[in-house]
Amino acid sequence: MINPQIEIQLIAALVAAACAIPGVFLVLRKMALISDAISHSILPGIVLGFFITQDLNSPLLIILAAGTGIITVVLVERIQKTGLVKEDTAIGLVFPALFSIGVLLIAKNANDIHLDVDAVLLGELAFASFDRFLLLGIDAGPKAAWIMGVILLITLSLLYLFFKELKVSTFDVGLSSALGFSPAILHYGLMSVSSITVVGAFDAVGAILVVALMIAPAAAAYLLTADLKKMLWLSVCFGVFAAISGYWLAHWLDASIAGSITTVLGLVFLLVYFFAPQKGLLSVMYRQKQQRTEVSLLTFLLHLNNHQEIEERHINHLREHINWQQVKANTVVELAIDNNLITITNEVISLTTKGLDFTQTALEYIITNKNDKIEHLKDDFFLFRG
């Protein structure tokens, strides 16, 4: 491995970590799309900042562009407050307009400006290590790494200082304002950090892939845990893992690094989406199937409870009467037998005392609709939740 390779991976990992932290809060606060809006609408800010500073990496440009991000957020909120359109429409109206202004500014000044829309939107990590940071005349590494490092450091220290406030205001706005933490300050603080991170990261990974780095690790982590600290750790790990393996994928395919980082992120998310133990697609579908069987069983038992006549309880009649398929009927009957809820004598089904007891409780639950009736059923009978 040669030196620039290590540097590029370092930058990618720094960007991923710096994006993942605000990303977690955006996803939890249902504001994930704000990151998309910010990442587009910083374009005019970057162009104007570039006119002033003539340097894509100057801190002034980052602050100016981040300012445009804040303006976007404020504009969206103002438009939303008029009540003329819904929030999502407001987002969808503001950022394309600002982005268009940015594109036109670049097109109009194409001769004086070393900036093209592709670069802003897609970024090129491979060139990031060419721009060196000179400290007292000594080469101190790539500028992008320093910028992202500083941003990550600021984000981390803010997170450490305001962790409690952020946590409370994310999950319970009412409580947090009652406790005296201004939700507005935390909201705009988070927005500012997100804006600065997006701007700092755009020339490494591009505006749209910043969105992927913010949302995907957080969303994957959210499917795995309900603990905020764990979620933060997990999403940083996912981000850094995707950054480094994405680099090698790009190296192997000879394609865009940012694109392959996103692809790895996509694969990671897909894996988690399918296989997450509690909230993954497969386990959700399995659980839903279980619940369907449980409800069927309950219907079956209630039916038995309602009918004393022999012909209504005959095993062949049931299939007709409740209109179940053969397989489903077998599953339900077997489940009931396994739980000692029914006995079958001469193809006539009757409830056991345990079954009667069970049905009575269930009936009581259905009538009163109080949860405490059904709670102990789950403990008494192993059939519930598999």
Partner: protein
């Protein structure tokens, strides 16, 4: 080239006519279908789908190796649809919210598309150049066959919208009711989503992945401000969309270095701003004017009530009082007194006022509303 020249050229120049017609048709179909997206609170679905279409274009190119617009758009359609239905699946099956689902599909599909595009660029295939026009769109590359395709799609969309008008309307405003009436809401839902995706895919070539969502939203958001009838809104949105297309093309053709897509978006945004401010019922301007008028009216009534209180202490109502005694009370101005005289509530005589019978009756009726107003 100035704008007037442009309109002269519009009828003679083939290229310009094709492009203008293309952007106008695009604006119309986007406005029409965008209305449904906006009312269904799916405004940002367009943004996600347009980004999600990118890998489809790249994969279609990788498979066929040819740059046939129709095949590329077919690829975009398939991958856009996959994106749209994944979003629905994610929202219904997991606890991720719609914003996260949209953002995920948007960025992950787009990133994968970028990976494929850069991979294609490194391939020794001379045909590959120009795929990136789908990123930002190039209206200038529109040819007659593209416009015919657009017209065809618009025609089909129009027929479907007219055919399923009742169902669409019902689904938009009361999905549960539609369900209880026995409509197959899932099918109608898929139908709307399908046509929204179709409109987006059609527009990719002209305005590009990034700005497509604005084409869908802006005309609809503008039209919404002028009417509360779905039919009028859809029609208006189509009209505004078409106008944005034509004006945008005109402005970008009359200047150097102005790309068409962003200009169209800015023109559409301009329509939105104008609608927000000047719409007679919902607009900010008239809302403010109504607010001020109501406030004045209230002040007037307050003054009248005060006068009524004074008049009550005298035997005859029309006993004159000096205006000065109103000084303790902040609600009156010269203008409001004159206004009250116009209403024949009071009579003014130099520095004195006296309540008329009409004014007395009006004041008596202010709070308990015993007599009905005309």
């Amino acid at each position: 080239m100035s704008i007037t020249e442009y309109f002269n050229l519009l009828f003679t120049d083939y290229t310009l006519r094709t492009i203008s017609l293309g952007t106008a048709v695009l604006g119309a179909i986007c406005g029409m279908l965008g209305s449904f997206a906006v009312l269904r609170k799916q405004s940002l679905l367009g943004d996600a789908i347009s980004h999600a279409a990118l890998p489809g274009i790249a994969i279609a190119f990788l498979i066929t190796g040819a740059k046939d617009t129709n095949i590329l758009l077919l690829g975009a359609l398939v991958s856009g649809l996959i994106g749209a239905f994944w979003i629905r699946g994610m929202i219904s099956k997991t606890h991720l919210k719609s914003d996260t689902a949209l953002g995920l599909v948007l960025s992950l599909f787009f990133g994968f598309g970028m990976l494929l595009l850069t991979y294609i660029q490194k391939q020794p295939n001379a045909n590959q150049a120009g795929l990136d026009k789908y990123l930002f769109g190039q209206a200038a590359t529109l040819v007659e066959s593209d416009v015919i395709l657009m017209l065809l799609v618009t025609g089909i969309a129009l027929v479907v919208v007219l055919l399923f008008w009742k169902e669409f309307k019902l689904l938009l405003f009361d999905q549960d009711y539609a369900n209880t009436l026995g409509f197959n809401t899932k099918f109608i839902d898929i139908l709307i989503t399908f046509f929204i995706v179709l409109a987006i895919v059609i527009g990719l070539q002209t305005v590009g992945v990034v700005l497509m969502s604005a084409m869908l939203l802006a005309p609809a958001a503008a039209a919404r401000q002028w009417t509360s009838s779905l039919a009028v809104m859809v029609f208006l949105a189509a009209l505004i969309g078409a106008f944005s297309g034509v004006f945008g093309t005109a402005i970008s053709a009359s200047q150097d270095n102005l790309s068409t897509g962003p200009v169209i978006v800015l023109v559409a945004s301009f329509f939105v701003v104008v609608s927000f401010v000047f719409s007679p019922t919902r607009g900010l301007l008239f809302k403010q004017i109504r607010l001020i008028k109501n406030r004045r009216d209230l002040q007037l009534k307050k003054t009248l009530q005060f006068m009524y209180g004074i008049a009550q202490t005298h035997e005859n109502i029309d006993h004159p009082h000096t205006i000065r005694i109103l000084n303790n009370f902040q609600g009156f101005t010269k203008k409001s007194l004159r206004k009250m005289e116009e209403n024949q509530w009071i009579l003014l005589n130099k520095q004195q006022w006296s309540l008329t019978l009409k004014g007395f009756a009006e004041a008596q009726n202010l709070f308990n509303q015993q007599t009905q107003h005309d």
